[in-house]
Symmetry: C2
Subunit: 555 residues, 2 copies
């Protein structure tokens, strides 16, 4: 009878109703299992913000129960928040070899490497905890060494697919462990959480090896240098470029900090291989003929400071783009990056390079399952309950619809929001309350010190700039003894708007005079009168609403 009231809690602290900062909490009795701990890159309206990480107050409050953070793979949106989170929550981190290799470079940068316990696991490993155990299962994704995670409890199995695709011909030969998914399905999965990123796409995601075929084809014809931009963490993609280079007798150099870092790790750990002498330093590229060179670089998303962007803008110290260069952008622009990528493509074309990108050739495939692959996973795992994850609401909703079409009762599906407490056992799945959750902004060294007020101000400043109005008043008499001075930034080009600023100054003088006459001495009132009068005046004259900052000095 007791078991009837038993339940597993699932609390997404990120990764639902958004793309990024994936973090799922799974709690059974005394075990809190954290799956992934990712960051998100800021939206356009998060002005000046560097990174966004999940609010982990709930975990900090329940610190003693947290048995570890279990990683599915080494992408930023799955491990990127760890350097910040581990400072508040020092628990063991479990991950596969490449995942931990990438994580280590990050922890080193944050001087955390010695204080964190990293435990290396491989697919099929099982970690026994107090009331549950955690199993790792091989999957395929756009980074090597990715796994799904199954949590075994007396109430049944909770399966989290992580990000996945079904690739029957992956580069490392490690096909997703479909047999194990089927076994778990037969044993009894009470809840599946599954990747929804590509749910809008019909059919199948192509195999990573198809990209290799395109590379071979392009390399066989290229007459000048070849420059390939891709994600630094996509070691299989990088390996395929290297293989094509070897086949056609080209040397390979790397450019971009994250590319160099991750390639270093991947070479050490044996994920990237080449015959002796294939790799050369970027400084040596000019020692070889153009048709013997491949450069693998960061910048496939058009990131302004990346190596490819610097090449395109003639700001790269070691690589100058020349006519005859062939640039392959082996990636799709992430929504929001289209214009950045387009700018780089235009600049490269203008410099006389050939540019090959996804709309022109098959130089990229996705790392996420399309509809038919999702159906395969649902069919093998046959979960009793289902919670779509890793997607905006539109994706979660459509993933739910897909499950319903496969025969799942709508009531067995839960669309969760960040912070929702989902309770599940063999009888039911339900929402029961919420925990503290949300997003924490990282800006420079500050974690969480920039909030909505600061962002609102930045937004305001960005639109119409600021007018600072300064005036010095004698305390006793209330007389203005210096000013008012008006200084503007980001509002109008001052030299051409002298009259406007002069008039604005007169407006302030009038306000001050009126306050004096009416014996208004409250600073707050004087300031707000200045603000109001100036705002009305400026809007009438310019239809703009700069921030107005009155400062009164008292002597």
């Amino acid at each position: 009878m007791r078991r009837e009231r038993d339940k597993i809690k699932v609390i997404p602290l990120g990764g639902v109703n958004e793309i990024g900062k994936n973090l799922t909490v799974i709690e059974y009795k005394n075990d809190i299992i954290v799956i992934d701990c990712g960051l998100k890159f800021p939206d356009e309206e998060m002005l000046g913000i560097d990174l966004v990480i999940p609010d982990i107050s709930y975990l900090v409050k329940n610190k003693e129960k947290v048995k570890g953070i279990f990683l599915t793979h080494g992408h930023e949106d799955h491990i990127g928040a760890l350097p910040y989170v581990l400072k508040e929550l020092n628990v063991p981190v479990y991950g596969t070899k490449l995942t931990l290799g990438i994580l280590e470079t990050k922890l080193k940068e944050h001087n955390l490497l010695d204080s964190v316990k990293l435990i290396c696991v491989k697919a099929k490993d099982v970690i026994k905890l107090e009331n549950s155990s955690v199993e790792f299962i091989r999957t395929s994704h756009s980074i090597a060494d990715s796994v799904a995670i199954a949590i075994h409890t007396p109430l049944g199995i909770v399966l989290h697919t992580g990000d996945f695709k079904i690739d029957y011909t992956p580069i490392d030969g490690c096909v997703a462990d479909l047999t194990r998914f089927a076994e778990l399905g037969r044993k009894g999965v009470i809840l599946m959480l599954a990747d929804s990123t590509n749910v809008e796409r019909p059919g199948y995601t192509m195999s990573e090896s198809t990209v290799g075929e395109t590379f071979q084809d392009i390399f066989s014809k290229a007459k000048g240098r070849i420059i390939v931009a891709t994600f630094a963490s996509h070691v299989h993609r990088i390996q395929q470029v290297i293989s094509a280079a070897e086949k056609y007798g080209r040397k390979v150099a790397f450019s971009g900090r994250s590319m160099e870092n991750i390639v270093e790790v991947a070479k050490e750990l044996g994920y990237i291989n080449a015959a002796d002498g294939v790799f050369i330093d970027i400084d040596s590229i000019n020692k070889y003929p153009d048709d013997k060179i491949v450069i693998i670089t960061t910048g496939s998303q058009g990131e302004p400071m990346s190596a490819l962007s610097r090449m395109a803008a003639s700001e790269h110290k070691k690589v100058k783009i020349v006519p005859g260069d062939m640039v392959i952008i082996s990636a799709t622009p992430i929504p929001g990056n289209e214009k950045l990528v387009s700018r780089v493509i235009n600049q490269l074309f203008k410099k006389g390079a050939e540019v090959i990108y996804e709309s022109l050739a098959d130089v990229h495939v996705s790392g996420h399952a399309c509809q038919e692959e999702l159906k395969l996973m649902h069919t093998l795992v046959k979960p009793k309950f289902f919670m779509p994850v890793h997607g905006e609401y539109r994706h979660l909703k459509q993933h739910a619809d897909l499950a319903i079409k496969l025969g799942m009762p709508p009531n067995n599906i839960i669309l969760a929001d960040i912070g929702d407490v989902i309770e599940v056992n063999r009888q039911f799945i339900r929402k029961n309350g919420v925990v503290t959750s949300g997003q924490v902004f990282v800006d420079g060294l500050g974690v969480g010190d920039v909030g909505n007020i600061v962002l609102r101000d930045r937004k305001h400043l960005s639109q119409d700039g600021i007018l600072t109005v300064v005036v010095t008043i004698e305390k006793e008499s209330g007389m203005v003894i210096a000013g008012p001075d008006i200084i503007s930034r980001g509002f109008v080009y001052v030299r051409e708007s002298e009259d406007l600023m002069e008039e604005a100054k007169n407006i302030v003088k009038d306000v001050l005079k009126e306050c004096e006459e009416k014996h208004i001495t409250e600073w707050a009132t004087i300031k707000s009168n200045i603000k109001d009068s100036l705002r009305i005046f400026l809007y009438e004259r310019t239809k703009r609403k700069p921030m107005i900052l009155p400062i009164i000095m008292e002597i």
Copy 2:
């Protein structure tokens, strides 16, 4: 012999190496012909800017030669700059009925309607000028009544396709006048300027009527209200929605200012038709059952203030989204708008609406020619020289490649930049100099008063905010008698950073003291010392670089 030295000048003042603000100058002897006069929406880095229009200094300088502005169609990127340009350059404007109808609503808003000479033309009309004549030729596009423009000169014909697609089954039955293009080709086109927007897409653009079939299909199954978002100017799309509504016995209401304006014009001019009683006021929608209602709305690009966005955010006064509503987004996100559109889709799904968009059904087709249509145009027109227009550099380059594949000598193709003077006659095409050109920012009422310095400041302010440092100094003694005070906006949340601000104040005090001791009285030096010390301090402590604005008051 004289004719040998004769030449036509072509000067693009917008629309090349960019998408938007199309404006091409064609000059032959005493005739300057302006084709289109469009605006562009600001890039993300143009903070606070409302619109971007072309710099028309060259036209103003050569005012007496300008015979008129000749419009190809009524889209913003072809007519949107006219209200600003006509204030500086009052010349006749030629356009087809719908184009001028839409333009009139704009001119009315700017109080310009009475001062501008609008001349209504139709396809096949020819306007005779001093040394040349201008002919209008029917095309198809995503707005009705679009035309190409042929300029007849003694040196041959210059053909500007405008934006076009080849639609064999357009809604108004007016197929592009392929016969006339062929005739012109036989007569001798020395230069063709052609739309490059879709040059990266293989095959053909589908006919507009295919979208109508999808609408019919969706309408036949829908059980609740139908809300269709599309471009206000796409009168054929709107007509197809209306036709489907009529067929299935639904009333049609409109929402969104531009939708209401343009539909009003289109109805008056006969471009939009329905049986009596089909159109109802948006205020009356609740008088009918849900399955008898269609609402046609703006907001297909997710524009934050548009009617659809307001519905999705529960901020629309007259339309509340309820479960059972079906929303059709009949458009593709323009690059840069993907996230805005996605946000609206998520909000609509959350409110329980069904949402149909391009990745789920054929509810949109492009208005621009794909590769096979471009080949048809090149093959019919057989121009001697070719200048691709309406595209970023990548598009222009690929359009050039397409022409080369069709057999055009590479030297007969010119890739022009904004402001280039292209000279062409039967013997040659060449660049010969440049004219003043560029982009003019419209911000509120200001046209051109926001330049790069203001934008750079807005960018700086948006990233890390501003610290204003104020101090009052006695002139005679150089003594500080009030302050320093520090006020920040957009930098840190002050209540949590009191210590930091206190330390910053001490830094400033130290600088002032040092200046006093060293008898530094130059304000500029004091200010720059304050700036430098604060910048270093703040960067060390926060890794942020707010704008620092020192203000010294003197009494």
